[in-house]
């Protein structure tokens, strides 16, 4: 582990990995409870258009990705809130639009090709520049700040939207807040695991820890721990074995899930079920 830290690029990569592992499952816990597990995937597809737009206009792709994915997330949320029956079809349309838009725009960019997009689709954590580490740190702080300030309200919203409304909570604002926070998280995680695997870090650690926990808070905290173990573990092993880090991170997370599935069954079986008088 020590020799990893001798390399500048590896230090930057580790910081980025830690931040992403911490933040993605935190917002992911709320998304899973609100049945928005695939929201991250949707935003990831849309973010690709943002990345391509950055190359086309000569702006930093991270910034345009933030812009476009926030807009996409808001659009997805509006579609979700309005349409009751055809919501998933509308989402699907947005996914395809995101990928097609990305491929189209990148081909128009000077010197751009689909290969340019590959590093965003599958991640390129070992080539994260210093500025990106700063952006990731800033966005991660913003996401955690949102959860600290609005966590109690988001919990009520994710449990039952009608109860949230009958408690006087600003339901529309909070729903948009989840979508926008998810969009920021997607952009943070884009460099680490890639847009196609972003959602895995928001969902898999949560699915893992909910096998083992009894409370919402402990599910969230444990999933953040699992998230960091996955990103740092995956990154470290990819340093020693020549494999793409994004894929290893997701495989590590999924392995954790399978282990927790068995362990959770064992715990529940050995826990006596009380009955209420």
């Amino acid at each position: 582990m020590i020799e990893l830290l001798q390399f500048d690029f590896m230090r930057r990569a580790l910081i980025a990995a830690l931040l992403v592992g911490l933040v993605a499952p935190a917002i992911g816990t709320f998304m899973v409870q609100r049945r928005l597990a695939l929201l991250g995937d949707g935003i990831g597809h849309v973010a690709l258009t943002g990345v391509a737009l950055g190359f086309l206009t000569g702006t930093a792709p991270v910034l345009t990705a933030v812009l476009v994915s926030v807009l996409g997330a808001v659009a997805i949320e509006l579609v979700r809130a309005r349409g009751r029956t055809s919501g998933d079809v509308a989402l699907a349309l947005l996914f395809y639009g995101g990928i097609a838009g990305g491929v189209l725009l990148i081909s128009l960019a000077p010197g751009g090709s689909n290969a340019t997009l590959t590093s965003y689709l599958f991640g390129s954590i070992s080539s994260v520049p210093v500025e990106d580490v700063w952006v990731i740190g800033l966005l991660a702080t913003a996401v955690l700040g949102v959860l600290v300030v609005f966590g109690r309200e988001l919990y009520v919203l994710c449990q039952d939207e009608e109860v949230a409304r009958a408690s006087g909570l600003p339901v529309r604002f909070l729903s948009l807040l989840i979508a926008v926070t998810a969009a920021l998280t997607v952009v943070i995680a884009m460099r680490v695991v890639g847009l196609l695997l972003v959602s895995a870090l928001m969902v898999v650690p949560v699915a893992t820890s909910q096998q083992l926990t009894r409370s919402f808070t402990s599910t969230m905290l444990l999933s953040m721990l699992f998230g960091m173990i996955s990103t740092v573990g995956g990154l470290t092993s990819s340093f020693y074995v020549e494999v793409p880090p994004g894929a290893v991170i997701v495989i590590v997370a999924l392995t954790g899930f399978v282990l927790a599935l068995g362990l959770g069954r064992f715990i529940r079986r050995s826990r006596p079920q009380e009955s209420i008088p």
Binding site: T29, M31, V32, Q33, R34, R35, L36, A37, V149, F150, R152, E153, Y155, V156, C158, Q159, D160, E162, V163, R165, A166, S167, G168, L169, V206, Q210, T213, R214, S215, F216, T217, T219, Q273, E274, I276, P277
Partner: protein, 259 residues
């Protein structure tokens, strides 16, 4: 808030769901301290009515007021304790009984201010009132339907509201939980709280109900003392397919409003 202390005032309330009229012109007002049961057959619009009264469903005609204000401009939501029909499962993230009950304080909490001692005490009292204090750290997912219903009631109790609005609190609930609910509610009514609940059959709740509103096809067809043999049996269009030999006749004069 000076103009009216009436809890709910609906006049000419109409609601369409998916272009089908569900409520066709409801006039209803509920005064503080009343214990009102909304009765009616399945599909008569009972749940729709209480959700419309809270502004959870928009009206397509008429108007409704919450403590004298339209729901969109109502700000004192801590006065309302809404108990939905069942605990929503959502994405299945585990959560403890205490977490759910404590979230009932949300309308009384300020953003950025941590959970106060008063919050914790109210949560503790609510848990004790429904007999779940000893299981506060258990996940709600492990509970039976009746036990989950108790959790939902405790969540409303924790908020210490003036008015309780309950959607079918007795549906699919074991008789022990129904009795406990009746005891809890009669204490609330004695304290002068307002109770508005939807029920298919009143069962053990009957003695504490001061007024029954019966819906039929989106209209109010009875508004007054709970009718004899309250429940689906008294409803128009109900088929009596079983004998009623053991049922004791209850005169509307037998009950006294609790003051």
């Amino acid at each position: 808030m000076t103009s009216s202390k009436t809890v709910f005032t609906m006049s000419g309330g109409r609601v369409d769901l998916e272009r089908r009229p569900v409520l066709r012109g409801i006039d209803l007002s509920v005064e503080p301290g009343e214990a009102v049961a909304v009765l009616g057959a399945n599909g008569s619009g009972k749940s729709t009515l209480i959700r419309a009264l809270l502004g959870l469903i928009p009206l397509s005609g008429g108007e409704t007021l919450l403590y004298g204000r339209p729901p969109a401009r109502f700000r004192e939501w801590w006065r309302i304790g809404y108990v939905p029909q069942r605990l929503s499962v959502g994405g299945g993230v585990p959560t403890t009984i205490r977490e759910v009950v404590a979230s009932g304080r949300i309308a009384r909490q300020r953003r950025l201010r941590p959970t106060s001692a008063a919050d914790r005490e109210a949560t503790g009292r609510a848990l004790a009132a429904v007999g779940l204090a000893h299981r506060a750290l258990d996940p709600v997912q492990a509970l039976s339907g009746g036990q989950q219903q108790r959790v939902l009631i405790a969540r409303a109790l924790a908020g210490e509201p003036d008015t309780f609005v309950m959607d079918e609190p007795t549906a699919g609930v074991d008789s022990g939980s129904q009795k406990l609910l009746a005891e809890t509610l009669s204490v609330l009514v004695e304290q002068g709280k307002t109770v508005l609940l939807v029920a298919h059959e009143l069962g053990p709740l009957e003695p504490l109900i001061t007024r029954a509103v019966v819906l039929r096809d989106g209209y109010v067809c009875h508004d007054g003392p709970p009718p004899h043999a309250v429940g689906t049996h008294a409803l128009p269009g109900h088929d009596h397919v079983h004998p009623h030999a053991e049922e004791e006749p209850v005169s509307p004069l037998d009950w006294r409003p609790t003051s």
